[in-house]
Amino acid sequence: MSDSDKPDPLARLGRELDRAQAARAPRPEAGRGDAGNLQRGMGLGFRIGLEFVVAIVVATGLGWAIDQWVGTRPWVTIVMFFLGVGAGMVNVYRAVTGLGMAVGYRHAGGKPVATDDWDDEA
C-alpha cells in the first residue's frame, strides 16, 4: 500500500474541514436589539456600582477593625474611608476606560486587553 497514489485520509479530512469552514460565511454580528443592549448596560452598571461600593465598604471596615485593635477610634476609620473612596474611583475609572484591572497606571505591554467583551460597547 503506497502513500503516494492513495490520497491520505487525513489530508482529505483537512481539506473538507477547510471547505466547510469557508462555506460558513462569517456571520455579521446580528444586532441583538434593545434587549441585548439593556442586558449589557445593566451588567456594566451593576459592575461599576459594585466596584465603587465594595471598595468603600471594605476600606472602612478595615479601618474600623484597625481602630478596634489599636484603640485609635475614630481616626483610622476616617482616613481609610477616604482612601476607600479613592480606590473605588480608581477602580471605576479603570473598569470604564478599559485599562483592565491592572494596578498601576501603566498600560500592560503588548496586546490590548480583551477583557470587557461581556459588557462593553453598551
Binding site: 442586558q39 482612601l83 484591572m101 491592572a102
Partner: protein, 243 residues
C-alpha cells in the same frame, strides 16, 4: 394546602450527616453534597470524554475538548502563551463554577455559589495564589506593582495606599459579583414562583415571566463563570507581566 412562600428558604443549609470534631462543626451538608456532585460530574465527563480519544471526536469528546480549548484560548489571549502552566487551574475553576451555577438551576437542588463563603473561598484561593506567583516570579520587585510610574514623591504618599487598597479589594469584588448575581437571580425566581402559586388561574402570567427569567438565569450562570475565569486570567497577567 400550605404553600412555602419564603423565597429565601432555598438557601438554607441543612446537615445531612452531622459531624463534629471538637467544637468544629464539619457536618456533611446539602451544600457539600452539591459540591461533591459537581466534582464527580466534571471528573466523570472529562474522563469519559478522553477515554477513547479519536481523531474525529464524538459528542462527549468534542464537548470536553471545546471547553478545554476555550479556557486555553482565554489564557493565551489574556495572559500569553507562557502562562499555559495555569490552564488546569483556570479550567478547574471555570468548570466548577459553571456546573455549580447550572446545577443550582435544577429544581429542588441547591445553589452552592449563592453563598458568599463559597465564592469568597474561591476568590481567596485565586488572590493568594496569584500573589504567590507574582512574588515567586519577581521577588521584591513585585512591590513596584504598587508604585505608579512618573508620579512626584508627595503624591506617592496618597497613591500607594490607594493602589494597595485596590489590590486587596480584588477578592471581595470577585466573590461578591458571583454571589450577588446568583442570590438575586434565584430569589427573584422564587418570588415569582411563589406569586404564581398563590393566585390561582391568573398564575399563567407570572409563570410566563418566570420562564423568561429562567432563560436569563441560564445566561447569567454561564456568564458569571466566564467572568470569574477571565478576571482570574487578568490577575494572573498582572502577576506575571507586572506591567
Amino acid at each position: 394546602m400550605a404553600i412555602e412562600l419564603n423565597p429565601l428558604e432555598q438557601f438554607k443549609i441543612e446537615r445531612i450527616v452531622p459531624l463534629h470534631i471538637g467544637k468544629l462543626d464539619v457536618s456533611y451538608t446539602n451544600s457539600a453534597l452539591l459540591m461533591t456532585i459537581v466534582v464527580v460530574l466534571i471528573t466523570a465527563l472529562v474522563l469519559l470524554g478522553t477515554r477513547r480519544a479519536s481523531l474525529v471526536p464524538g459528542r462527549l469528546q468534542s464537548m470536553v475538548e471545546m471547553t478545554y480549548e476555550f479556557v486555553a484560548d482565554m489564557i493565551d489571549s489574556n495572559v500569553g502563551r507562557e502562562a499555559r502552566d495555569y490552564v488546569p487551574f483556570v479550567f478547574t475553576l471555570f468548570t466548577f463554577i459553571l456546573l455549580a451555577n447550572l446545577l443550582g438551576l435544577v429544581p429542588y437542588s441547591f445553589t452552592v455559589t449563592s453563598h458568599i463563603i463559597v465564592t469568597f473561598a474561591l476568590a481567596a484561593v485565586v488572590f493568594i495564589g496569584v500573589t504567590i506567583i507574582g512574588i515567586a516570579r519577581h521577588g521584591f520587585h513585585f512591590l513596584s506593582f504598587f508604585v505608579p510610574h512618573g508620579v512626584p514623591l508627595p503624591l506617592l504618599v496618597v497613591l500607594v495606599p490607594i493602589e494597595v487598597l485596590s489590590y486587596f479589594i480584588r477578592p471581595f469584588t470577585l466573590s461578591i459579583r458571583l454571589f450577588a448575581n446568583m442570590l438575586a437571580g434565584h430569589t427573584m425566581l422564587a418570588i415569582l414562583g411563589g406569586f404564581a402559586a398563590s393566585i390561582g388561574l391568573l398564575a399563567i402570567f407570572p409563570l410566563a415571566i418566570n420562564t423568561a427569567m429562567f432563560a436569563l438565569e441560564l445566561l447569567v450562570a454561564v456568564l458569571q463563570a466566564y467572568v470569574f475565569a477571565i478576571l482570574t486570567c487578568l490577575y494572573l497577567r498582572d502577576a506575571i507581566h507586572l506591567h
